[in-house]
């Protein structure tokens, strides 16, 4: 069933359109930055954006900071919201269920295909933004005047070796996938509640926007550590030296909690739900 879901994902033009849109955002930003060379003031604008002007090899990290807060969660919410509701309204859900595919396995397969989508999207963004960075900003000719492999400065000012950079980017990819689990689980749950894909996606986005607002609200400080978006940007801590694990661990933990609870809710709801209409 997982294979079937992956086949459905990667045979669908929509997947590639979304990934292309995700890649287009950092590309656009890079073109503006490279032509005007006006960096955002430090501490404002996307993370790493002011640093990439001197070293394009850091652009994948800046690209992550660009797509993560809005674009990526929106696309995950749209796909996850469509996961069950879309099949129900297209009439394919009933044919899957009488194959038979057990309802719980269907949910798990849907979740795994969402993870696959996030991985695919992030890796596409990383690859395109790495190439963009190198081409548009060049590489700081650090060591012996040789352009490759480029040295990258961590947030703490220490040089990150190419191998270290690769490891940190790997950690970033893993962390972002985990960060998106919460969104996916919310939208997937709503997708089993309603037959409208759009409704499920909107519901999940409403939760995220609310969470984002509460994160910045001091009056809501008591619940802040439990908000799904609280630790979204914690992957930046991979680029500190030494790596700061505190928020990364917490963020991953919160996402797993949301995943467990919402996937549980989806399971409880979907297994005894009428598939009519």
């Amino acid at each position: 069933m997982i294979g079937v879901e992956l086949a459905k994902l990667f045979r669908r033009p929509r997947t590639y359109v979304i990934a292309a849109l995700l890649c287009a955002l950092p590309l656009t930003v890079a073109i503006f930055l490279a032509t005007t060379r006006i960096p955002p003031p430090p501490g404002q604008g996307g993370a790493f954006l002011s640093a990439v002007l001197s070293n394009g090899a850091l652009y994948p990290a800046a690209a992550m900071a660009l797509v993560l807060p809005v674009f990526l969660p929106v696309s995950v919410a749209v796909l996850a919201g469509d996961a069950v509701a879309g099949e129900a309204s297209a009439g394919t859900l009933r044919y899957l269920l009488i194959r038979p595919v057990s309802r719980s396995r269907l949910l798990v397969a849907k979740l795994i295909s969402l993870v696959a989508f996030v991985l695919f999207a992030i890796v596409s963004v990383l690859v395109t933004s790495y190439l963009t960075g190198i081409l548009l900003f060049g590489v700081s000719t650090s060591s012996a005047g040789v352009a490759l492999p480029p040295d990258v400065t961590s947030l703490s000012g220490v040089t990150i070796s190419p191998a270290g950079l690769a490891l940190r980017l790997l950690g970033t990819v893993a962390y972002i996938v985990i960060s998106m689990l919460g969104v996916a689980a919310i939208a997937l749950f709503l997708s089993t509640v309603t037959d409208s894909s759009l409704g499920a996606a909107m519901g999940a986005l409403a939760v995220l926007v609310t969470s984002q607002v509460l994160v910045t609200l001091d009056a809501a400080a008591a619940i802040r550590p439990y908000l799904p978006t609280r630790y979204w940007l914690a992957w930046v801590d991979f680029f500190r030296d030494p790596v700061l694990w505190r928020d990364i661990e917490r963020g991953a933990g919160i996402q797993l909690v949301y995943l467990a609870v919402l996937l549980g809710a989806a399971w409880a709801n979907f297994l005894t739900k009428d598939v009519a209409n």
């Binding site: 000012g157 700061l244 505190r246 609870v261 809710a265």
Partner: protein, 374 residues
């Protein structure tokens, strides 16, 4: 209710019960951790105080957070200082010895590092891509994040308030350590501080949490505490500042902040006494700034030169209240409940006064500064 019931409703309810149980268990975890009783580690305050004083050699590393509710407006050249007392600051600290430590201030996508090595201090600013080596001692400087880690603040407060009374407080779990507590209550009435609560690890004496409560306030207006702490020496590599190299900016400075730069100019002399309090300059050669008063009721007076003094004065009059002073001079004060700032314009000179002192004292100081001549 019969509507909607089906032959599998009971099954569905059982599943929902499982999910609900999971939610309850997960929600209970932080609650239980919070209310788990702390084994009271009763330590006599005087004993604790001496242990804290001796804890400067205790190596540790941790993650600290300070939060101020003072709501001070951003003053020119002083934004970094006002941010410290008006917002939340997240810090990572590594401490091996009084002359070997590092404090990183974390921001979203930024980092400011401060390294103390036996030879010099280094600051690293990721946003500016700038490494700075600070040479020589800094007799006067602005407060910075590293002064607000619980050990630094607690020691500062205790050394300033030598004679004030100490009472024991209930133990408290801070960053997983069961810390002994004590309350310091200033004796004098000039200060705005009602009391300072300090919790420290009873074993090493390392302060883990400091809370400052202003007079008339029920809740502390400034809290700094460790969220994570590990005892033991940090890696030598961590304490080594980044090496200057092409691609990052590097400079060597002797007066890295506005205040120490000021001290290098030719500021106006400060009076020997203000509001009846003698000036007690600690370091010779420092003329731009003077410290008056005793204990927590101390305040700092700066003399600012013409142009920048005028700007600072205007900023303070915008946010503050006017204070009547003699001789046709002007003065204004910004009150935050804990930290109060006074600006006095005396002809073309500007005096800036800041301290944890009450408005009554500041009015007397204003009159004193307005009367300075020559």
């Amino acid at each position: 209710m019969d509507i909607g019931r089906t032959v599998v409703t009971a099954q569905g309810l059982r599943r929902w019960a499982v999910v609900l149980g999971l939610v309850l268990v997960l929600a209970a975890v932080p609650v239980v951790v919070n209310v788990w009783p702390v084994r009271a580690a009763g330590v006599d305050p005087a004993d604790l105080r001496s242990r804290i004083a001796a804890s400067g050699i205790q190596a540790h590393q941790g993650y600290a957070q300070s939060a101020g509710l003072l709501g001070l407006p951003a003053l020119p050249n002083l934004t970094q200082v006002t941010a410290l007392v008006s917002g939340t600051t997240e810090m990572r600290t590594w401490y091996a010895a009084p002359d070997r430590w590092r404090v990183d201030v974390l921001g979203e996508g930024t980092e400011h590092g401060l390294y103390q090595t036996p030879e010099a201090q280094f600051t690293w600013d990721f946003g500016d891509n700038q490494l700075t080596r600070i040479e020589g001692a800094q007799p006067v400087r602005l407060p910075r994040a590293a002064d607000l880690t619980p050990p630094a603040l607690a020691r500062q407060v205790l050394s300033a308030a030598a004679g004030d009374s100490l009472t024991p407080l209930d133990a408290k779990r801070v960053a997983g350590v069961e810390a002994a507590g004590m309350r310091l209550t200033p004796a004098g009435t000039d200060t705005t501080v009602a009391h300072v609560d300090i919790w420290a690890d009873p074993e090493h004496g390392l302060p883990l949490q400091v809370e400052v409560t202003a007079r008339g306030g029920a809740r502390p207006v400034f809290v700094t505490r460790f969220l994570e702490i590990r005892f033991g020496a940090p890696d030598a590599g961590v304490l080594t500042p980044p090496a200057p190299r092409p691609g990052i900016g590097y400079s060597v400075a002797e007066a890295p902040d506005a205040l120490s730069a000021l001290n290098r100019g030719q500021p106006a002399p400060l009076p020997a006494t203000l509001a009846g309090l003698p000036r007690r300059d600690a370091v010779a050669g420092v003329s731009a700034a003077g410290v008056y008063g005793a204990g927590l009721a101390s305040f700092v007076v700066l003399a600012l030169p013409g142009r920048s003094g005028g700007r600072a004065f205007r900023q303070i009059t915008t946010y503050g209240l006017e204070v009547p002073v003699p001789d046709g001079n002007e003065a204004a004060v910004i009150e935050t409940g804990l930290l109060n700032v006074l600006a006095v314009r005396n002809r073309n000179r500007t005096f800036l006064v800041a301290g944890l002192v009450g408005p009554d004292l500041l009015r007397r100081v204003a009159t004193g500064l307005a009367g300075v001549t020559g």
